[in-house]
């Protein structure tokens, strides 16, 4: 979502502008096969950082593949994690 830190924020042809490419990537993640709205994509200079929690390992792999494809030429760092499906170890008391 945030692209602060991008070195491509201004100037250059729009098609090469990282800000817009990230915006288009997020459109594709949301409207495509993945329906993914929970991944944060942030520019870090000439690299891109992915954060968030996704439902499964295949989803995570598909997101990373899509990002590499959409942002060819940029380094991609993925900190995506897969949702935990374990039982809780305690309950919260609401008195």
């Amino acid at each position: 979502m945030s692209t602060h830190g991008s070195q491509d924020a201004g100037g250059g042809p729009p098609a090469e502008n990282l800000d817009y490419r990230i915006a288009h990537l997020q459109d594709r993640l949301a409207s495509g096969e993945l329906g993914e709205l929970g991944v944060r994509v942030e520019a870090r200079g000439r690299a891109v950082l992915l954060t968030g929690t996704v439902p499964s390992a295949p989803c995570r792999d598909e997101i990373v593949r899509t990002v590499h494809e959409e942002l060819a030429g940029f380094s991609v760092h993925s900190d995506l994690v897969v949702t935990e499906a374990s039982c809780p170890d305690h309950a919260e008391e609401l008195s």
Binding site: G35, G38, T53, P55, C59, T83, E84, L94
Partner: protein, 254 residues
């Protein structure tokens, strides 16, 4: 004591069948019911919702759900609702249900809810038709929730719970970018909850938010989006209410 298990945003698809079932099968040991706070699927397709239905079918505790925005994406909310209902799930939209479990009567009022934002930083019903429709949809959801909570109040339940997908308060959005708060919830939901009364409000939708919040009227709010709680579900223990006045109308879910 009422034991409420809840989770939202499980975003199931064909590759996730069976992921949650082992944890859900432990529910009778720790909970009296399971609440599903919307975004049960990725695109709202019948195929995906059948995965969810199989995941919760024949659990030994009642299951109550609302849909989320993802569950509407395929424009077939009635069809996916029917799939869940066929699996025995109580699916609510501006409706209430009373489930009896663990010796208690637990009233749940539910709506998907919608965005619009929070007091002082919210959309108004003004200007272009699409803007007015945005706010009107949020208002209709909140009105439905209030009516459903009022119905629950008349039934003299041991606990009253508001179940939504969108958030009623900004507290539980902490961690999300401030700029998108108006797409994550609406104060209209909190106003409905505070007006009609509830012992707990549960929602999802905000994956990067936080679990704990409270309405300005003092109702505890919990964001149970699975990425937030980091578990298959969380459990909340509520003290049972004093019984309501005699003669309370017993009216089942409409």
């Amino acid at each position: 004591m009422i034991r409420v298990a809840a989770v939202g945003d499980i975003h199931m698809g064909p590759d996730s069948q069976g992921v949650l079932r082992p944890a859900f099968e432990t529910l009778p040991e720790c909970a009296d019911l399971l609440l599903l706070a919307g975004d049960l699927t990725r695109h709202g397709t019948p195929e995906e919702m059948r995965v969810v239905a199989r995941e919760v079918q024949d659990l030994a505790v009642p299951v109550v759900a609302v849909l989320g925005n993802h569950d509407h994406h395929d424009d077939r909310p009635d069809e996916v609702t029917a799939i869940l209902r066929d699996a025995g799930v109580h699916v609510l939209e501006g409706q209430a249900t009373v489930v009896e479990s663990g010796g208690a009567r637990i009233g749940v009022a539910g709506t998907k809810g919608f965005g619009g934002g929070f007091v002082g930083r919210c959309a108004g019903e003004f200007g272009e038709p699409v803007m007015k429709e945005f706010v009107q949809h949020s208002r209709r959801c909140a009105d439905g929730l209030r009516a459903a909570l009022e119905q629950v109040a008349r039934e003299g339940c041991d606990a009253r719970i508001a179940l939504t997908h969108y958030s009623p308060v900004p507290d539980t959005l902490a961690g999300e970018p401030l700029e998108i708060y108006p797409f994550l919830g609406s104060y209209l939901l909190a106003e409905a909850i505070d007006t009609a009364g509830a012992d707990l409000a549960v929602h999802g939708h905000a994956h990067a938010g936080t679990e704990h919040g409270m309405t300005s009227g003092g109702v505890r709010v919990r964001n149970v989006a699975q990425p937030v709680i980091g578990r298959a579900f969380h459990v909340y223990h509520l003290p049972a209410r004093e019984p309501a006045a005699a003669g309370a109308v017993a009216q089942q879910a409409r």
